[in-house]
């Protein structure tokens, strides 16, 4: 089975992805992660205005069979939360890199992004 690993995103070993437009970092979980989890039924996320810290847990995703912590790829203030996921957690399965996004964050130190895996490195990890 092969999984989508878009070239233009950066990744955490714990299967979160990020993208940045220079001001805002968007965070979600990967195609590989949603497949491992199976049917996602619940997502717990911080609120807008909360601070998250790189490498710390910022939330929880639950499938029928598993509970998994979500880890922050970067530190900063949460500027948007995908509230659609509260009623439609299955969006994480259906479109992990699109409608299944989780948070937008204003990073406090954008250089933290340099520590993340490239698509090629992440592909190697899940191979």
């Amino acid at each position: 089975m092969s999984f989508d690993v878009p070239d233009d995103l950066r990744y955490l070993e714990s299967h979160e992805w990020t993208t940045t437009d220079g001001e805002t970092v968007t965070i979600g979980v990967t195609d590989f992660a949603q497949d491992e989890l199976g049917d996602v039924v619940f997502v717990e996320l911080p609120a807008v205005g909360d601070e998250i810290t790189a490498e710390d847990a910022f939330g929880v995703v639950e499938s029928i069979k598993a509970v998994s912590d979500l880890y922050a790829p970067i530190s900063g203030e949460v500027t948007a939360v995908n509230e659609e996921l509260f009623d439609q957690p299955e969006l994480v399965n259906d479109d992990p890199f699109g409608d299944g996004w989780m948070l937008e964050v204003a990073p406090s130190d954008e250089s933290e992004l340099d520590d993340l895996l490239s698509a090629a490195e992440y592909r190697e990890q899940i191979a």
Binding site: D39, F42, E44, E62, I64, V67
Partner: protein, 364 residues
């Protein structure tokens, strides 16, 4: 120790199943998705490989007496071709396992029983039956035949059509808990109208070496242990080793909500302890809990009252695929068990609102 493999392990892997270790067996947990498999069983039909279940065969002149003294129900009430749900209890009334006892339809000359305890209990209960046979001086043959049988469950409202097509239309005349012997794909099988999903359904026992032929006869959604768990939780059915366990969750049949399997008029191991408890009552009771806040109840979460005092514990839980609500099973102090009564579930340190709910959660 390496996990035991069902006869169709390779075929399941080829079908894309992921596996999990359960009761010492490596069993399929998911073929497509738990939601898809669950919906197939509720709406049409699905097939499960449940070859991890134990099979113990008891025959001989005292097979009825022996089995009656080791299970809570009245084995003597069974006619050939009938089966009953029962508990296996120890002296203090604590459940070691739950089981179905089949009085074989095809042994006319003397009683013969097929006892189907849960996964990984086959050696334990073969010893248990044999040891008590010696202790009580009874004449019965007890044989662990788990490795000789594959077991499949075909479950769902359309299951009678599938059994009629695969075998014999007369199978659809079987009443709940009746069983018979019949040919499927030219293979001699035992077919029972039993299951663990709350739906109409059948369980099929066939010889291990013919497992693939029988499995392939059924053109329906393959289902794994994941859907088996969500289906049984929606019905409030117990899972041995989780909702009760002699070491980690010692419970009697009355506490576990299966007092209907206890016939105090029969003389079985644990009978006196249960007769006492029947008189004095139980401190905690097995209940259904529905979450009112968002979230997923899970095994091990504490149940607390509005002051935060612990009044119970969840032993199972899931997001109900049918109801799209968090549902759980567990034990609650008997003074708090009225359906509709509020209770809080501690989820990762946060108290979430929930209420006591009648089982089954999904009416059938």
């Amino acid at each position: 120790m390496t996990d035991r493999q069902p006869p169709l392990a390779d075929a399941h892997a080829a079908a894309g199943a992921t596996t999990t270790a359960f009761g010492g067996w490596a069993m399929p947990v998911e073929f497509d998705s738990i939601k898809t498999e669950h919906a197939a069983v509720r709406e049409s039909v699905g097939i499960f490989d449940v070859s991890h279940m134990s099979e113990i065969e008891v025959t001989g002149p005292d097979s009825t007496a022996l089995t009656n003294r080791l299970t809570t129900n009245d084995v003597a009430a069974l006619s050939p071709g009938e089966a009953q749900y029962a508990c296996i209890t120890r002296e203090d009334g604590v459940m070691l396992d739950d089981t179905v006892v089949y009085r074989r339809a095809d042994h006319a000359d003397h009683p013969a029983y097929l006892i189907v305890p849960n996964a990984g209990h086959d050696s334990q209960f073969t010893d248990w039956w044999q040891t008590h046979r010696e202790e009580w001086g009874l004449d019965a043959t007890v044989e662990n035949t788990t490795d000789q049988w594959a077991m499949f469950a075909v479950q769902g409202p359309d299951s009678p059509d599938h059994l009629a097509a695969a075998a014999d239309a007369a199978l659809t005349d079987l009443a709940r808990f009746e069983h018979t012997t019949t040919e499927i794909a030219g293979v001699d099988c035992i077919v029972a109208r039993t299951g663990y999903t709350g739906e109409d359904g059948f369980e099929i026992l066939c010889p291990t070496d013919a497992a693939e032929m029988v499995w392939n006869t059924f053109d329906c959604q393959p289902c794994g242990l994941g859907a088996r768990d969500t289906l049984r939780i929606e019905m409030g059915f117990l899972l041995s080793g989780q909702d009760f366990d002699p070491d980690d969750q010692p419970r009697t049949p009355y506490e576990a909500g299966v007092g209907f399997t206890v016939d105090l008029a029969t003389d079985f191991l644990g009978r006196d302890a249960l007769a006492d408890q029947h008189k004095t009552g139980i401190d905690q009771q097995f209940v259904g809990i529905t979450m009112l806040d968002r979230g997923v109840p899970r095994e091990g979460y504490a149940l607390v009252d509005s002051d935060g005092e612990q009044i119970g514990e969840l032993t199972s839980g899931t997001m109900s695929p049918t109801l799209n609500e968090g549902i759980g099973l567990g034990y609650l102090d008997s003074s708090h068990t009225t359906p509709g009564e509020g209770v809080e579930i501690v989820v990762r340190g946060n108290r979430k609102q929930a209420e006591v709910t009648d089982r089954p959660f999904v009416s059938k």
